[in-house]
Amino acid sequence: MKILIAGAGEVGFELSKVLSEEHHDVTVLDERQSCLQRVIENLDVLTVEGNATSPHALVKAGARQADLMVAVTSVDEVNIIASMMAKRLGVKSVIARVRNQELSRPDAPITPSELGIDVLIHPEESAANQIHQLVKRASASDVVFLADKKLQMIGLRVEIGSEVINKTLAEVAELYNELSFRVIAISRRGTTIIPRGNNRLMALDHIFIITKTEHVQQLVSATGHQNVTLRKVMIAGGSEVGRLLAKKLSADKQKWVIKLIEPNKEVATEIANNNRDILVLNGNPTDPNLLVIEGIQEMDAFISVTEDEESNIISCLMAKHLEVKKTVALVSKSQYVPLSQTIGIDAIVNVKASASDEIHRQIRQGMLLTVKALTGIKAEIIEVEAGKNCAILDKPIHSLKIPDGIVIGGILRNGLAEVATGQSIIRKGDRVIILALPQAIKKVEEMF
């Protein structure tokens, strides 16, 4: 596939990397030479220097031949204009990042398609959604809804003192035979293990489980987590993510007590003016005095989403030290992700990763229904429909030769979801949930 990416910022870079690794022909267009330099040095893609709103630059970057353009510059207006032009120039499908929500509203006077945009993405909103899910499910590090919310993939840390420690997965399955679940991956000290029945669980393992939504609760307590519901949330940083999260929480049926700290007075005032149910504090989120005055020790969750990822980690650590039950940090550098898990931050959210997730999903659309990259391990959750050419139909899974790096986690048939076991059989038209390591994703596409 020929793909044109306008904007070589963080999201553009991340995306180019993922797509080029998947053997797409990627051209990156940006007017900042320093950004392009970084792309050339690190990735196997073509770069073109030029402004995304210039038709000449677009043509030079191959807009006439491209199958897809992704406009991810930092400016909404540039992305919109680039999309309009690209569509005129013959790009088949266009994805644009637009932060302003006016276009995406159902009552929008001008729809995105009228502007040549096929898919709008809003990475900050996806990140906010992700945090929202995490706060609702107190103990999990990841929550992914699958198969129309009938199944869930959750990430949990095996706490010290849990009864599953030192047991093989087969023994664990025996112990909880009334629950249907499947451990699909284990992350241990930075390495990802695709487990078999004889793998043993260790304390502080980070495990990923596919299970029925109604069984989540029991599994959470099985891994040694107390059953907690959160009520008081402190959000550090009135960034786009923080703002959207606060808005989502205050729109929830459940009544949250929300405090948001923002150092910039104007930004803080604006947030306070637009959100009735949020207590907005003007101060530095890393200032311990402010945190103590505002009762951080009584908080159930502390979510740090400032632009400065180091201070996000620091303030989350501070919160953890004061025994806040759940801490979530916004971290963009992928190098920090394993680190933060080990030092005790409960969950990490990465805006760039969620942006490339979203785009990824759009690129593979048609065949694959859900694509979700997991934080902490290099693997993706894919939901796919079994077509008639599918190679693995009508046989029990244990008799199939499944390639390395692929785990079948669940099956949805006629609206009924089940967790896959060795005896499960995939039929035509089923929706299959798969965990795949990056090198195996191509094979998934071949299988189905």
């Binding site: 007075k265 803080a268 005032t269 947030i271 306070a272 009735r276 207590l279 907005v280 005055i293």
Partner: protein, 504 residues
């Protein structure tokens, strides 16, 4: 743009020619309005017809000449607008007083001005029926010529929505700078503008006002106790939240539950922003019912009706029905600053009296014809107090003050707090002057707040069955200035007395 600046360079700080020109136009209009009581005098064949004719002709000539000589050509500036509005109301009262004097009804010109200002400012305090400080017996209300009674009510009606707003609506002569004049006279916020052009807004507001007056007139007229003359006078007085009646005993003279209810309902409606009434009539029920000020007004009125009627029933030993009837009428009459009476509240026991006294410090909604502090200000001040308490607990929190979904800007908040403080200072000054003249505490405070708040009847020697005739002349001038200050919402008048107004 530049050449306009060039032209403005040579303009004086306050362009008195322009001020006189527009003032002339307004006086002309006021004289024109006085032809209505002249017609009434002709219909009833009363001797006062010549008084009205002379005043009307005189002011039309004088006003017309001024306007003709100094036709407004320049753009009006805010300073000139303040001056014009204040002068219009003051000079308007001086002129409107003439028929009382010329017809020989009132011996004292001060009394005549007091009565007219009380009319125009929709206060409803009267000097009729009393004995003045130098021993002159003023005629009782019932003994007055019908044309003069009509003029009193008409003054209410003109002043209710505003003389200038009316002129803007009817005559194109104030085309230039109409917005500034509108702002200086109108009590609502400028976001009440209903149409892009101020003239149309003024016209719509007056149409709603006139329509509601007509409906009330018809509803009163069908009751046998009222003839058409009384119905129209009471309709004028109610919609303007004035309080002048054609009877010395006020509305109590009719002693009819039906009339009480009609007047209560229309007083309440007159206490609501007329821009909201317009929205209601155009079918925008949602924004009417969703309006926070209207809700607050309704809630406050409801609470006081329950408390006062309950007090009258349980403490003052009224029957339940009477307690509700008199209680609700009196609450709405005072909260909207009308000042009609169906019961002598001066005779109520301490608890109910005190509750009613509190209502003297309220007022209708912004943009209504009511005077006083106004609901929107009380509401914002209450919310601000709540906020101050929260701020103590969360010193670094940013806590906006909200009315509905609108955030009140801190600038507006300061203006409102300033208004509040100023209001009490002026109230105190008025009360001090009255006490200096020998009035007791309750009477002095009552007279001051009843005039400043445009209510009318007060307490003690100014109770609902008493009058203002016995106040010394100087005191009457003080009170009538208070009425004007209150009607024009303090700043329009007070700014003229600051040094900054006259300096650059």
């Amino acid at each position: 743009m530049i050449d306009r600046l060039e032209k403005n360079k040579n303009r004086p700080r306050i362009d008195f020619k322009l001020v006189s020109g527009i003032l002339g136009g307004l006086i002309f209009f006021l004289g024109f309005a006085m032809l209505l009581p002249f017609i009434i005098a002709l219909i009833y064949n009363e001797a006062s017809w010549d008084a009205f004719l002379i005043t009307a002709a005189g002011s039309m000539t004088a006003g017309g000449l001024l306007f003709w000589n100094y036709r407004p050509q320049e753009e009006l500036r805010m300073r000139e607008a303040f001056l014009i509005v204040t002068l219009t109301w003051f000079v308007g009262s001086l002129i409107g007083a003439l028929p009382f004097t010329l017809s020989g009804t009132l011996a004292s010109y001060t009394d005549a001005v007091f009565e007219t200002m009380s009319g125009l400012s929709t206060t409803g305090a009267t000097i009729l029926g009393g004995i003045t400080s130098d021993g002159i017996q003023n005629p009782a209300i019932e003994d007055l010529d019908k044309s003069l009674l009509f003029w009193r009510s008409l003054a209410h009606w003109l002043g209710g929505m505003g003389i200038i707003v009316l002129t803007l609506a009817l005559l194109p002569l104030l085309g230039i700078g109409g917005m500034q004049l509108f702002q200086a006279e109108y009590s609502g916020s400028t976001s009440d503008k209903l149409t892009p052009r101020i003239r149309e807004t003024a016209f719509l507001l007056w149409s709603v006002y006139m329509g509601m007056t007509a409906v009330q007139f018809l509803l009163l007229w069908i009751h046998p106790a009222m003839d058409w003359f009384e119905a129209i006078n009471h309709a004028f007085s109610t919609l303007a939240t004035g309080g002048f009646s054609t009877q010395n005993a006020s509305v109590a003279a009719f002693d009819s539950v039906y009339i009480d209810v009609i007047i209560t309902v229309f007083m309440f409606l007159a206490g609501i922003n007329f821009a909201m009434h317009f929205r209601l009539f155009t079918g925008d029920i949602k924004s009417f019912l969703g309006n926070r000020e209207i809700r607050f007004f309704t809630l406050l009125a409801g609470l006081f009706i329950v408390a006062i009627s309950g007090g009258l029933w349980l403490i003052d030993n009224y029957s339940f029905g009477e307690a509700l009837r008199y209680g609700s009428f009196q609450v709405i009459s005072i909260i909207t600053t009308t000042g009609f009476g169906t019961d002598d509240y001066a005779l109520w026991l301490p608890f109910t009296s005190f509750l009613l006294f509190l209502l003297f410090f309220t007022g209708g909604c912004g943009g209504s014809t009511g005077g006083g502090i106004k609901m929107i200000r009380l509401m914002i001040i209450t919310k601000n107090i709540k906020r101050e308490f929260r701020q103590i607990i969360h010193p670094q929190a940013i806590l906006p003050v909200r009315v509905g979904n609108r955030v009140i800007d801190s600038k507006i908040l300061k203006t409102i707090l300033g208004f509040f403080v100023m209001y009490f200072i002026i109230f105190a000054i008025g009360a001090i002057i009255m006490s200096f003249m020998g009035y007791d505490l309750v009477s002095a405070m009552g007279a001051s707040i009843a005039c400043l708040g445009n209510i009318g009847p007060a307490w003690g020697e100014f109770g609902p069955t008493d009058d203002y005739a016995h106040v010394p002349y100087f005191g009457k001038w003080v009170l009538l200035i208070l009425m004007m200050i209150g009607r024009l919402e303090l700043f329009t008048v007070l700014i003229i007395f600051t040094p900054w107004f006259w300096k650059n």
